[in-house]
């Protein structure tokens, strides 16, 4: 995150991402889907040495459930970087996760019916 008054940003977004992630490979969507919902688990303490991006995620996720994509969007982070940091926090037990899509690509009929009903309620 670059905030006003901060030092000039590094040379490119790529370098910036590299610094945030410590140069690690970004996890795949197998780890956390874009629409998986996450929130901060109750009673957790911010890890020592947390960087500004982790702090920002921490504050944002303390407020309630958001999808992985929304966390990235609100904080102006590339999706892959947000996913990596969220995966770290999740592995450390700091996050609750909901609505994880099944691994298999089969579409669940009950969900489709709910989606259909919800959409139909939008039209008069």
């Amino acid at each position: 995150m670059t905030t006003p008054g901060e030092e000039a940003p590094v040379t490119s977004d790529f370098v910036r991402s590299y610094v945030i992630t410590g140069g690690r490979d970004l996890p795949s969507s197998e780890e956390l889907a874009l629409h998986t919902l996450v929130t901060l688990a109750p009673g957790r303490t911010l890890p020592l040495g947390a960087g500004p991006e982790v702090r920002a995620i921490w504050e944002l996720c303390a407020g309630g459930y958001l999808s992985v994509a929304e966390v990235a969007g609100h904080l102006g982070l590339p999706v892959g970087v947000a996913r990596l940091l969220l995966t770290d926090l999740s592995e450390q037990g700091h996050l609750l996760r909901r609505a994880e899509p099944p691994r298999a690509q089969n579409v669940d009929r009950a969900t489709l019916e709910k989606v259909l009903n919800g959409l139909q309620s939008l039209i008069g």
Partner: protein, 200 residues
């Protein structure tokens, strides 16, 4: 919100998913550049549509396999998405995805767990839709065609669209105005009905 009261300011609360929601569904809104994907998402979303970016550094691996391109440069692709609460326990995310072939990694990410894709079409630029159809088919996504009527006078008949795009007979074709919530909802309804038929 049932969580940590020391956290978010009150003003932020509306950005969160209701705490009763336990299920999140995803539908892709795909189509070529400037076809109206973000407009359609914005017409339905309960939050201000968000934009984020995906870095395509690892995409070159996939691209290598498919097209023999070996460049390792980083490409940034914007993703636009919105959210719609459909019932007490279900939210729908709409992800607008660019149709370019070189963003294969992005497509894998998008396709994972997606119910299906609404494929937006500009009738004046039908040929630009072919690569997008190839992509949705490659990822095994069921889809419906939504012809975005920018100019009703310039539109083609459904038969013409079907023929030009070489669609299967059961692929739905609907006309919509992506700026209008009801029209956008109708297009998604056509898609979801199709998905239900295919799931039967």
């Amino acid at each position: 919100m049932d969580s940590n009261p020391s956290s978010a300011e009150t003003a932020q609360k509306s950005i969160y998913v209701s705490s009763a929601v336990t299920n999140a569904a995803k539908i892709l809104v795909v189509g070529h550049f400037a076809v109206g994907k973000t407009t359609l998402i914005g017409s339905l979303s309960e939050i201000t549509p968000l934009r984020t970016e995906e870095k395509m550094t690892q995409a070159s691996v996939h691209v290598d396999d498919l097209r023999g391109v070996t460049d390792k440069t980083t490409t940034t692709v914007a993703l636009d998405f919105g959210r719609l609460t459909l019932s007490d326990d279900l939210v729908l995310y709409l992800f607008g995805t660019p149709g370019q072939q070189r963003f294969m990694q992005l497509w894998e990410d998008m396709a994972r767990g997606a119910l299906g894709a609404l494929l937006l079409v500009d009738p004046a630029r039908l040929e630009e839709t072919f690569p997008v159809i190839d992509l949705v088919e490659r990822y095994g996504l069921e889809y419906a065609i939504a012809v975005n009527c920018f100019d009703p006078a310039a539109t083609y008949s459904e038969a013409e669209v079907r023929e030009a795009l070489d669609l299967l007979p059961d692929t739905p074709v609907v006309y919509c105005d992506a700026r209008e919530q009801q029209s956008s909802a109708m297009a998604l309804i056509a898609l979801v009905r199709h998905l239900l038929e295919r799931a039967a």
